[in-house]
């Protein structure tokens, strides 16, 4: 997509950096304030925790999508890859009866492998990312159904499994703050991804690829290898999402997952990452994912009729992004 340069720039007094970083949250904060005023139930600890937990799966998927989008690609397979990894965990733990850590590692490895395949198709066969990951999305959706014989796989034989997402290590220490582990995992993945993106060579190449892939290639960088690595990393993160959702539902639901990619990509773009590649932040993606969950939760808390919820959600997504554009312009 074309980057519309905004040449006419304001040169008024510069607002301090910290204040501006806060303003990035403005859309989110505005939503929170409005909902808090509208309903006393909104800001209850339990509801805040519910919102955070509702963010966990989409947030992790959105982080995966962020990596790929920064390279200038797109990943439509995040949703069904999540499901596929959940099914793999189910096969390992329930069908084969292996111990919990094997299931966890297996699910993540399955994600990495599938990401690797997407990466190879994109980097080596030069298939556009949209098509490569659309294909993967369908293949994985089908395979999840095939492997599971179109039946949910339950984790009843692995009692610790539900703890992955729903247990609360924090709660067992501070009973007043039962933050579910799933939320911790989301923040853990976010921190890790942010670290990789900003501090490591992989992250630097991720941005460089999205900025000008040909220039990177002509700098003697093995572009294919790094691109494949990014898709693989995104795949591994989808594996984490698979564990989260399976743990929460105590089952691998093979039919779920399609459609989740849109929410994930929406979170990324709301968070200010450009679909043209080369720029983006994990913090932005987290905020984007939170905006989506807060909106959904708040509208439900207010018992807005479903069809109007949809209308309002659409309008607010546009407004939130527009507000962010205004803020940047005033920078």
């Amino acid at each position: 997509m074309t980057d519309t340069a905004a040449p006419a720039q304001n040169t008024g007094p510069r607002i301090s950096g910290a204040f501006h970083r806060l303003l990035a949250f403005s859309g989110l904060i505005a939503l929170v304030v409005v909902f808090s005023l509208a309903s006393p139930n909104f800001m209850q600890t339990q509801n805040v925790l519910a919102i955070l937990q509702a963010t966990s799966v989409n947030g992790v998927l959105a982080i995966a999508a962020t990596l790929v989008i920064i390279t200038g690609g797109i990943d439509l397979s995040v949703g069904t890859l999540m499901t596929f990894c959940a099914v793999i965990a189910g096969v390992l733990l329930t069908y084969l009866g292996l111990p919990l850590p094997v299931g966890v590692v297996g699910a993540i490895l399955a994600g990495v492998c599938c990401g690797l395949v997407s990466g190879v198709v994109v980097a080596k066969l030069k298939v556009p990312p949209f098509i490569a990951t659309l294909g993967m999305m369908l293949i994985l959706k089908g395979l999840s159904l095939v492997i599971s014989s179109t039946k949910p796989i339950y984790f009843n034989d692995t009692p610790g499994f539900t703890q992955i997402s729903s247990g609360s290590i924090v709660g067992s220490i501070f009973p007043a703050l039962p933050i579910p582990n799933g939320v911790l995992i989301l923040f853990g993945v976010a921190l890790l991804a942010a670290f990789v993106l900003t501090k490591t060579a992989l992250g630097r190449y991720t941005f460089a690829l999205g900025s000008n892939e040909e220039a990177v290639r002509l700098s003697g960088v093995n572009v294919d290898r790094w691109k494949i690595a990014v898709y693989a990393a995104a795949g591994g993160i989808c594996g984490v999402a698979g564990l989260l959702i399976a743990s929460r539902l105590n089952s691998a639901q093979p039919a779920l997952g399609q459609g989740y990619e849109l929410d994930a990509i929406a979170a990324v773009v709301i968070g200010g990452t450009s679909l043209a590649g080369g720029r983006g932040t994990i913090l932005g993606t987290l905020i984007g994912a939170l905006i989506i969950s807060v909106l959904a939760n708040g509208l439900r808390i207010l018992s807005v009729p479903q069809e109007w919820q949809t209308v309002v959600t659409g309008a607010i997504i546009i407004l939130a992004v527009y507000a962010d554009i205004l803020r940047r312009r005033s920078l």
Binding site: N41, A50, R300
Partner: protein
């Protein structure tokens, strides 16, 4: 004639309900000598995708077609085409506004949901606030179950109030989030009705995550729901007899192909089950995994 070729076009495919219909159909196929193909669109709103499936099935030229219409009218031209080609049509799950189907194997969703309403009222002591989490705002089953439930509450249980009806597309995770929002917004809520398998499981999940003791009535069965009913997390659930629906559909199709007369309506019934009665042979027979 070695084996009949019967095409079943459903409203869905991946849900356990439809998988149970498929199992029933295959059982009957094995018994009566028919091979079954089984297809359904992604969601219950994709009426046109179902038309494409029906059209492709017609091109293949099966001996008979089983059809669960997403819209009672949209498919009529294609059904006319089929009947002109001499392919018998058996409707199942919900009917078609036409006399082309030789037989319809179905459950009365309105009555089934009304039974859920009665059970709900009974469990919450006939007064208080309740909510509905349903799967689809526009599909026949969605409308019938929501209206069947809410109308029955209005008519028969004046002290019970349905505060909200929300839709989670039958997605367990989405339904879980919806349930939690509803519970947090209405701390005095006494019960929630989950109008299909995914919704019901989502409701029970939400209840569990919030440690709530709200009454949950589900719909359909499946391994997870059965376990939840058995454990008491879900107070009870309505089940149709999808295996029976599939079985009766194929049975009627084969009968029609053999030139026998078939009943216009086969009611496969619905049942309420809870921890107490779910092991009764009569109930256990209609529950599916």
């Amino acid at each position: 004639q070695d084996k009949y070729d019967i095409a079943m076009i459903c409203k869905g495919f991946q849900h356990q309900f439809w998988q149970a219909v498929k199992a029933g159909a295959e059982k009957a196929g094995a018994e009566f000598g028919a091979t079954i193909t089984f297809e359904g669109p992604e969601t219950e709103s994709q009426v046109d995708r179902q038309m494409d499936m029906l059209a492709a099935a017609l091109s293949r030229g099966p001996d008979a077609i089983g059809f669960a219409a997403l819209d009672s009218q949209a498919a009529i031209p294609l059904l006319q085409q089929a009947s002109a080609a001499g392919i018998p049509i058996i409707a199942f799950d919900s009917g078609v506004d036409s006399d082309i189907p030789l037989s319809t194997a179905t459950t009365d969703n309105v009555a089934a949901a009304a039974l859920a309403a009665d059970k709900m009222a009974e469990l919450i002591g006939n007064s208080g606030k309740i909510a509905v989490v349903a799967h689809d705002q526009t599909s026949r089953t969605g409308i019938d179950r929501v209206e069947g439930f809410t109308n029955r509450i209005k008519e028969a249980h004046p002290n019970v109030e349905v505060v909200t009806v929300q839709y989670g597309a039958g997605d367990q995770l989405a339904s879980t989030e919806i349930t939690k929002s509803i519970l947090l917004a209405n701390p005095d809520l006494k019960g929630i009705f989950g109008a299909n398998e995914g919704s019901a499981i989502g409701v029970a999940n939400g209840k569990q995550e919030l440690n709530s003791n709200v009454v949950v009535i589900g719909f359909d069965s499946g391994a997870a729901q059965k376990a939840m009913v058995a454990s008491g997390l879900m107070n009870g659930s309505i089940t149709q007899n999808p295996v029976g629906i599939g079985y009766e559909t194929v049975k009627a199709a084969v009968a029609a192909l053999k030139g026998e007369t078939v009943p216009k309506i086969v009611d496969t019934g619905f049942y309420y089950y809870d921890a107490a009665n779910m092991n009764d042979p009569e109930i256990a027979a209609v529950l599916y995994d």
